[in-house]
């Protein structure tokens, strides 16, 4: 039996109940036992002083790449789950583009068992849409869900066949799970290395037009209307996508969307000097796109912040821009970037941010957590939203170091992470 935990005197923000005030939180037997003032726990309970800090339901990331099985030199389920915990995440959803891909119940079960052994953040596997992620034949989604998959996605390999996407939405609807799509028209993106615009023109790099994303967003919205299925649009990057989603939501369609910290922080200017740590897919776009993403997060067009945590070995990024792999780490910088780029400039309040990083992700993927209601799982974080710190990739818990944010000053970080009532990360080392 785990020792009870009493978190005392913090500003308790629970977006699930619109709660925001100084209180104590008592965790017992892996559950939230009480939230209130002057709680005295049992003798022997661990007491954590959270005065001046924020206590909230743990952050939930709907989009990470943990590289296991297949590329354990980049990340494992265990190191990824630890990096998540250090970033304030109590649960992450692992994309299936591993090697082999997560297209069968055995593979899903393997990831879950690795996560249990690690005992850090919870890891919910996402199964593939198609067998082998080949975009041809549906994976056995019923069995994937039975084994513990919480969604399906061919992330990284866009579903180009509209017929396959249609049947995926219909079939997944049967099991009540979302279909998460990486929206990219491969014919139009055609080997591009960064956003198509003035920076690509100057650098002589092949561009990926915004339209490559928007065409598939529009298609997915139309198919959501046709099927009544739940489409979840991954890592939205363009102003056009935001306006398409806004209209879809006005029509009442089951469309949800995520945006990454790098897309609300950086623009294609970050690629100057052929910086391969600014190479990702979808690419960093223009100022107006970044503004639209921020506006979308404010008005709810973009439902959640997800990191698209994508570990790569340092020497894979140490090469020609065209040949470097896409993607950056996200878990250990997400909260700091969100506070610095969204809360400090007044785009979101801290409770609104926590809604988009915890409560709402849990709701749209139908996951436990995201709330401090009594009886809810004791997945809780203590955050220091005022801490100023400089990003030092050498201290990351992730196995990889690929981030464009090294040396950047951020405000806001995680002090303590509790999963299932057990402290899995304590910055003070306690």
């Amino acid at each position: 039996m785990t020792r009870p935990i009493l978190i005392r005197g913090g500003r308790v923000i629970d977006p699930s109940r619109k709660g925001d005030g100084v209180a104590d939180v008592y965790l017992q037997e892996g559950r939230v036992a009480a939230v209130g003032t002057n709680i005295t726990g049992e003798d022997g309970a661990r007491v954590i002083d959270a005065a001046g800090k924020v206590v909230a339901p743990g952050l939930i990331d709907l989009h990470v790449h943990l590289r296991e099985p297949g590329q354990e030199d980049l990340e494992t389920v265990a190191t990824g789950a630890m990096a998540a915990a250090a970033g304030g995440f109590t649960a992450v959803c692992a994309m299936p583009n591993t090697d082999p891909v997560l297209d069968n119940q055995g593979a899903i079960g393997f990831v879950i068992s690795q996560a249990q052994k690690a005992g850090k953040a919870r890891v919910y596997p996402i199964g593939t849409i198609s067998l082998g992620q080949k975009g041809e034949k549906l994976a056995e989604m019923g069995e994937l869900v039975g084994a513990g998959a919480v969604a399906v996605s061919d992330d990284g390999k866009p579903v180009m066949s509209s017929h396959l996407m249609r049947t995926a939405l219909e079939y997944a609807k049967t099991f009540g799970i979302p279909v998460a799509d990486h929206c990219e028209d491969m014919g139009l993106a055609h080997g591009g290395a960064m956003h198509e615009g003035i920076v690509a023109t100057r650098l002589g790099l092949k561009g990926i037009p915004a339209a490559a994303e928007e065409i598939m967003v529009a298609r997915d919205i139309i198919l959501a209307e046709l099927t009544g299925g739940h489409v979840h649009l991954c890592h939205m990057s363009t102003r056009g996508s935001v306006s398409l989603i806004r209209r879809a939501k006005e029509m009442g369609l089951r469309v949800t969307a995520e945006a990454t910290p790098h897309h609300f922080t950086l623009t294609h200017a970050a690629c100057e000097g052929y910086n391969t740590n600014a190479k990702m897919n979808p690419p960093l776009r223009e100022d107006l796109d970044r503004e639209a993403i921020r506006q979308g997060l404010k008005d709810g067009t973009i439902d959640v912040i997800a990191t698209d945590h994508a570990p790569h070995h340092y020497d894979a990024k140490e090469r020609e821009f065209d040949d470097a792999p896409n993607g950056i780490l996200g878990l250990e910088t997400a909260f700091g970037l969100a506070v610095t780029e969204l809360v400090e400039p007044g785009v979101l309040s801290l409770p609104e941010l926590l809604f988009r990083m915890s409560t709402h992700p849990a709701r749209i993927f139908n996951l436990p957590g995201g709330t401090l209601a009594v009886g809810a799982p004791a997945d809780v974080v203590v955050l220091d939203p005022a801490a100023r710190w400089s990003v030092d990739p050498s201290t990351f818990y992730s196995k990889s170091r690929n981030t464009p944010f090294g040396g950047r000053m951020l405000t806001g970080r995680c002090d303590l992470t509790i999963v299932r009532g057990r402290v899995v990360y304590d910055r003070a080392g306690g």
Partner: protein
């Protein structure tokens, strides 16, 4: 040139692109090239300026003209040179660019001339080795010595570059020559136009301060000089244009089109030419063509660049690279 050098002007450690140079640095190179033209006219084409320097010509992409031009420039400056081509070297065995660079560095070379199919590869190399790096063409980014030899050729013809109107015609999208040409001409005060089908124009090219033409006749009427880009045959198979035949009919530089303009005009081409596609033979071989003087100037400009970089070499530590 002595005056400029004594004023402390140098190129820094590398020549990566004309975007990174000031007008003064570009003029310094052109002025330095003038006396080197004469070296190539001597019976014994040799000057001891780079004696004892070792230069590696690292060509990851097929090239005849640029590679030979660099090699002549190096040899006429008395440098020791080694040529490395991507086939038959460790590169074809999968060695990464950074490993190739480190190995060259370990052999204590002075300069690397690099031609590579990826944009940014010269910048990449320059950030990682102490030797001077000269970009001999990186992907679709820049080809600075080509841009410089075009400027020298224009200056020879017109006396100055400032105020000239130069139209760059053809496949600007895939052209490193076009980007270097645009930067060099703009910095020296020329007006620049681009002309070609929109499918071969890079996004937001207007933001580089160039004028866009869709009719080749309008570009010819406007320009004092044309820089005609090579149209690579694979642009047709990859769907950027419907056919080479139509390209020649709509955008080709023909003697009829030049005659209709009724004025003297200078026609440049970076080579290799597709005769009958972007340029007709009677134009290439005709009175307005400066295509062979461009090649001659190429050697002088490359000698100037190598000479200036060698002179600037002790600066590399203070400069700490280019970016």
């Amino acid at each position: 040139m002595g005056v400029l050098l004594s004023a402390g002007l140098s190129l820094g450690k590398d020549l990566l692109g004309l975007e990174y140079l000031s007008a003064e640095q570009i003029r310094l190179i052109l002025d330095t090239a003038e006396p080197f033209k004469e070296v190539s006219e001597r019976p014994i084409k040799k000057t001891p300026a780079l004696r004892g320097k070792t230069i590696v010509n690292l060509f990851f992409e097929a090239s005849t003209r640029t590679r030979i031009s660099f090699e002549f420039a190096e040899k006429r400056l008395s440098a020791d040179t080694v040529n490395v081509a991507s086939t038959g070297s460790s590169v074809s065995k999968g060695e990464t660019l950074v490993d190739t660079a480190r190995n060259l560095e370990a052999m204590r070379i002075d300069m690397v001339v690099i031609r590579h199919p990826s944009s940014g590869s010269a910048d990449f190399l320059a950030q990682r080795i102490r030797s001077n790096v000269v970009n001999a063409g990186d992907g679709t980014h820049e080809h600075p010595t080509q841009g410089l030899l075009d400027l020298l050729t224009l200056r020879d013809r017109f006396g100055k570059v400032e105020g000239l109107k130069v139209a760059i015609c053809g496949d600007v999208l895939h052209s490193r020559v076009a980007r270097s040409s645009i930067w060099g001409l703009r910095k020296l005060g020329a007006e620049v136009g681009v002309c070609g089908p929109f499918s071969l124009m890079p996004r937001d090219i207007g933001e580089l301060g160039v004028r866009e033409f869709t009719r080749i006749e309008d570009a010819i009427a406007w320009a004092d000089a044309l820089n005609v880009l090579r149209l690579q045959l694979e642009r047709m198979t990859s769907g950027f244009i419907p056919s080479l035949r139509e390209y020649n009919r709509v955008f080709g530089i023909t003697s009829e089109r030049l005659a209709r303009a009724g004025k003297d005009i200078v026609v440049m081409h970076p080579g290799p030419m597709n005769r009958g596609v972007e340029i007709d033979s009677d134009v290439a071989d005709g009175p307005f063509s400066v295509i062979l003087p461009q090649v001659t100037n190429g050697v002088a400009v490359r000698m100037a660049v190598l000479y200036l970089l060698a002179g600037g070499m002790p600066d590399w530590q203070q400069q700490g690279g280019v970016e």
